[in-house]
Amino acid sequence: MALSEQQELLQVKGLTKTFQLSAKQQKLEKTKEKVRTAVNDLSFTAYKGEIFGLLGPNGAGKTTTLRMLSTLIRPDSGDALVDGFSVVKEPDKVRSRIGFLTSELKLEDCFTPNYLFDFFSDLHGVDPAVRKERKAALFARFGIDKFAEVKVVNLSTGMKQKVSLVVSIVHDPDIIIFDEPTNGLDVITAKVVTDFLKELKSEGKTIIVSTHIFSLIEKLCDRVGIIISGKMILCDTLENVCGGMNLEDRFFEIYKETVGDGE
């Protein structure tokens, strides 16, 4: 299947993001640099109906990239087109087309899954009739129905994560962006989540995940981009990236080349 025939649902073009480091941060991270380049001229494309993985070590700039894609932060330069809409110029349009999920985005403790589903549906302008149907299906799918009226504060970590997942897709978005989807989850809940991502893919959704876990990429992703120090080092299909090796070995090879060159 020729990639060029596929629809380019996400086009990332030269995204760059720097942060000013405060004096406190400089001390904390034992560094003298005043400006940290978290993401450096990053480009890639994700096609409709695929799972794209961003792989990189801690501090590589994965979360920063995904935050820019979900319009939470603005790039210094560069742009990304989500279903044709610019994250810089039309953030509202982008917001209604993506579902963004990260463990940093919390749900308010005092509300029930039922209330939160309705609340976020309202924020997304979902029609009440559609909302009801969707809620029933998703709650049943994740076993949330039994906990629909239990306050978030009283839910287990796994159930909370499932509720977060469901709430982030109340509007049935075409693109789902997921930062570290299995972080902090036990193997059973992690499998529920990865199975669901595959299911979404089969429905024709586009999924972007970030992780530092090789096995997750191997299990899920069609294509992978390797980020080190904010730069896209390699971006291709999983097969082409691995070139017959397993992903972990291949990654360390690349890592050595890159970091070795730099120092």
């Binding site: 405060s22 941060q25 979900s70 319009t71 939470l72 932060i73 603005r74 509202d92 349009k93 917001r95 209604s96 993506i98 963004f100 940093e104 985005l105 919390k106 749900l107 308010e108 403790d109 005092c110 509300f111 209330y115 609340f119 976020f120 309202d122 924020l123 997304h124 302008g125 709430v167």
Partner: protein, 390 residues
């Protein structure tokens, strides 16, 4: 109203009224004020007041004929006796309230006395015990009686001696001026504490808990979040302030003592209350907006409460200025300065001298400031430096 604003308002109100602790925390000050003021009032009455059922006892030595008719008018029990030393001991022991010692031929001496002669005047000794409130009260009553008797003897003319009331201020006016002095200060403080109890929680709290970003990835307008929050917080703060105000109005007569027992807020008409409600709600919006903006700078609720302190000082200062301001301003510009205009309006309403146009200017000015604040807050919600500050 836009759907987004209503969604946010509903959520804020649901969060608030779903949490019993939060509800209690805003209603409690009102209850506490009532209990504390009542307690202070009754404590003051016990310390400084005289039990009305108590009949003081006065012992008179050498009671002159002129006094025989006069002294019982006080309603005190009058006994006679000659043992001065024993009676003094009884006063010290608080068994006797007052010992009166007249010169032996008091009436004759008084009649013979010439003020111009330079001789010492006849002296009446009143032995009392200042440690006893009953004795002090008896002493003061009898001194007043003797003064009146003395004044009556050399009477050339009287001042206000008739039975009528000479103070032409109506009871309503004097009560109004008392309210006008106390209430702006109290109300402003209550309004501030109502706002300070909820705004940092809702703005800095959501930042601290990481829940605001979850809303920010949805297409809802930032200004809808800001306005929805401010309106909901305004409603909650108004309830809190109303609880405090009701508590203090109910407790005021108790604090002021028996003399003020007939003091109540029914001297104000429905228009007064409506004007006051408009002033209060628009003031709360200004305060909530100010504190929300300060809270948005903070990373934690604690930090937000610290940032709100200057607002508290400002509010208190304005409240106190209202106490000594000498009534509401008649200049319209005074009603265009938020918070200052609130104090002016409150003083005006309570002293029956409110200019409705002043209230109108106040409400308009406060609405303008609130809208400006909503704009600023929306900009802040859009700023990653504010929302994701590390």
């Amino acid at each position: 109203m836009r759907n987004g604003i209503i969604t946010i308002m509903k959520k804020e109100l649901a969060r608030f009224f779903g949490d019993k602790r939060l509800v209690v925390s805003i209603l409690l000050p009102g209850v506490l004020i009532y209990v504390m003021y009542s307690f202070m009032g009754s404590a003051m009455k016990n310390n400084f007041g005289v039990d009305e059922r108590y009949t003081p006892t006065v012992q008179a030595v050498n009671l002159p004929v002129s006094m025989e008719a006069l002294l019982p008018q006080t309603g005190f029990a009058v006994i006679t006796g000659t043992d001065v030393a024993a009676a003094k001991e009884a006063v010290t022991a608080q068994e006797l309230d007052l010992l009166l010692v007249f010169p032996a031929d008091f009436d004759a001496q008084v009649a013979a006395y010439q003020a111009a002669s330079g001789q010492t005047a006849p002296n009446v000794a009143l032995y009392h015990n200042s440690a006893s409130t009953n004795s002090t009260f008896t002493y003061q009553t009898v001194v007043a009686l003797l003064d009146a008797y003395e004044a009556g003897m050399v009477n050339k003319f009287d001042v206000n001696a008739g039975g009528e009331s000479y103070d032409l201020a109506t009871a309503q006016d004097s009560m109004g001026s008392l309210f006008a002095m106390l209430m702006p200060m109290l109300l402003m403080t209550f309004l501030y504490s109502g706002c300070a109890a909820v705004a940092p929680e809702s703005i800095a709290g959501e930042k601290e808990r990481g829940t605001i970003a979850t809303m920010l990835i949805t297409p809802i307008r930032r200004s809808d979040i800001a306005l929805g929050k401010i309106l909901a917080l305004g409603i909650i703060s108004t309830i809190s302030a109303a609880a405090s105000a009701v508590g203090s109005i109910l407790a005021m007569p108790k604090l002021m003592g028996a003399a003020m027992e007939d003091m109540n807020a029914s001297i104000y008409g429905i228009t007064d209350y409506l004007l006051l409600a408009a002033v209060i709600f628009s003031t709360v919006l200004v305060l909530v907006t100010l504190i929300s903006i300060l809270s948005a700078f903070a990373k934690t609720i604690k930090e937000a409460q610290t940032y709100a302190m200057p607002v508290m000082i400002l509010v208190m200062a304005l409240g106190i200025s209202g106490m000594f301001g000498g009534g509401a301003s008649s200049e319209l510009w005074a009603y265009s300065i938020p918070l200052y205009n609130s104090v002016q309006c409150m003083t005006g309403v309570f002293s029956f001298s409110i200019l409705p146009v002043g209230v109108a200017v106040t409400v308009a000015a406060n609405a303008a400031v609130t809208l400006l604040g909503v704009f600023v807050l929306a900009k802040m919600f859009n700023s990653e430096k504010i929302i994701f500050a590390r």
